[in-house]
């Protein structure tokens, strides 16, 4: 199977020069599939957790955004039950100048600053708006339960 040079280069670089707190490993048989682990950012309710994600580069990449999904359960207003992520750069704000590493960094910062005003998981967003300290406690509990 042959891959565009950009994908090969990105895969090489993300392995040899990883972003702090993010590990991305391409599948040996298909460089378009990545197994990703993002560490919960310090000071956030997700601190101490290691969140597994899958990342897939579609045929049209980099003209189309990569497809990213959380495999670990997360209590977060912008991440739903099946792990789909509500993030502008993954949808209509995608630009072909963005890369795997910038997308993963955006996801890391989404963990750091949840945005309940643009929710994907409505119940979590409601809980977050009503009583944020309780929601943060739940997020910590989930992190300890599922992301250790």
């Amino acid at each position: 199977m042959s891959f565009p040079k950009r994908i090969i280069k990105e895969a090489e670089r993300i392995v040899s020069d990883p972003v702090p707190g993010i590990i991305a490993k391409p599948h040996e048989d298909n460089l378009r599939f990545f197994d990703v682990i993002i560490d919960g950012p310090e000071g956030s309710p997700f601190e101490g957790g290691h969140f597994k994600l899958e990342l897939f580069l579609p045929e049209e990449y980099p003209m189309m955004a990569p497809k990213v999904r959380f495999l670990t359960k997360v209590y977060h207003p912008n991440i739903d039950k099946v792990g789909r992520i509500c993030l502008d750069v993954l949808k209509n704000n995608w630009s072909p100048a963005l890369q795997i590493r910038t997308v993963l960094l955006s996801i890391q910062s989404l963990l750091e600053s949840p945005n309940p005003d643009d929710p994907l998981a409505n119940d979590v967003a409601e809980a977050w708006k009503e009583d944020s300290s309780k929601a943060i406690a739940t997020a910590k509990e989930w992190t300890n339960k599922y992301a250790k």
Partner: protein, 369 residues
């Protein structure tokens, strides 16, 4: 003609990489907001998404895209590339235009059409063959008719393996049945092992590795030299010298590159100095013009404000006077009404009194009767 579209750069600076395909810029195009991409990448990106610059998301349209400045093309063509036939063994490195000429005319490892049959063959095999037949070209042409001299099947004389003639010399380098004598110790080795043996052959005469840096030790057997190198000052300094040399080479190269950039910029400056100066002058005069106009407008505004507030004050005074006049008039009316009310009440009292006296006299008359 040998087609080669893709060159591998020895060291490609990040500033000449297309942000979309992450490869060297191909047919670079620049947007109005100043970002440069490969032509195909930029148009591909505009086709897919809303028409925005992929870097800063500023709205752009096809008319806002122009070929990149010539300096970018010059910088790209000055960079060193590897010969595209590096995988076949060519070690040539140089600027792109030099390498493309090298590939067309002289690269021994370039894959060219076999002059005898319809397959491809490395140029060096064709060269070897023409040397073999030099002075006897008729024999060569005669052979063409029955069999291609490059691709006919031959057998290795040592191991008997059968292969196309072009591969024989490569095979002989590796064949483990062919042995040769070491030039130093006369031991017999296969071609594969010969290199390793010569490196370590105790009978080999070598010179001290510190020689280029000033060591005076004469050539001697390998063992003697290696024990000498343990104590030789020049040999121990060699890594430092080499590191310095690499650094110097790198700086010289960088300096060259900067020189070229400066030359190009100076050239641009001498080409269009007037237009840019006059542009700036034009902008300045425009700015002055706008400033004068703005001052005029603001002074007019101030005057208007003054006049307006004065008229407001006058009007307010007039209104206050009128209100006062109305108030006194109302007071007058109130007095009159009061007066009238009092009058009416006293009138009512007077009317009641005569009627009462009349009733009294009537009752008196009744008693009399």
């Amino acid at each position: 003609m040998i087609q080669c579209e893709e060159y591998t750069y020895v060291d490609l600076p990040e500033s000449l990489v297309c942000p979309i395909c992450r490869g060297p810029l191909k047919e670079p195009r620049t947007t109005v907001c100043g970002h440069t991409f490969c032509r195909m990448c930029l148009f591909g990106a505009l086709e897919r998404s809303t028409e925005r610059c992929p870097i800063d998301r500023k709205p752009i349209c096809v008319n806002d895209i122009h070929p990149a400045p010539l300096i970018i093309m010059n910088l790209l063509s000055d960079l060193d590339v590897y010969c595209p036939f590096k995988e076949n063994g060519c070690t040539n490195v140089g600027p792109k235009y030099v390498i493309s000429k090298h590939v067309q005319e002289e690269c021994e490892y370039a894959a060219i059409d076999c002059p005898y049959c319809r397959t491809t063959v490395l140029r060096k095999h064709v060269l070897e063959l023409s040397e073999d037949f030099s002075g006897n070209s008729k024999a060569a042409t005669a052979k063409v008719e029955d069999e291609c001299p490059l691709h006919k099947e031959v057998a290795c004389t040592a191991c008997g393996a059968i292969m196309p003639a072009v591969d024989l010399s490569d095979h002989e380098q590796k064949c483990d049945k062919i042995t040769a004598a070491c030039p130093h110790c006369n031991g017999m080795f296969t071609a594969v092992n010969m290199g390793g043996h010569i490196q370590n052959c105790p009978k080999r005469m070598v010179s001290c590795s510190g020689r280029p840096y000033g060591c005076k030790k004469e050539d001697a057997l390998l063992g003697e030299i290696s024990s000498h190198e343990q104590t030789c000052v020049f040999a121990s300094l060699r890594p430092a010298f080499e590191a310095q040399q690499i650094k110097i080479d790198k700086l010289e190269k960088e300096n060259d590159m900067l020189h070229r950039k400066i030359d190009a910029l100076v050239f641009l400056e001498t080409q269009h100095p007037l237009s840019s100066d006059s542009d700036i002058f034009h902008l300045f005069s425009e700015q002055e013009h706008v400033r004068a106009e703005l001052e005029l407008v603001s002074s007019g505004l101030r005057e208007f404000e003054l006049r307006h507030s004065a008229s407001l004050v006058a009007e307010a005074r007039k209104n206050a006077d009128e209100v006062n006049a109305l108030r006194t008039a109302i007071n007058g009316i109130r007095h009159q009404i009061h007066f009238l009310l009092v009058e009416r009440r006293s009138m009512a009292l007077h009317q009641q009194e005569p009627s009462a006296s009349r009733r009294l006299s009537e009752s008196r008359q009744d008693v009399k009767l």
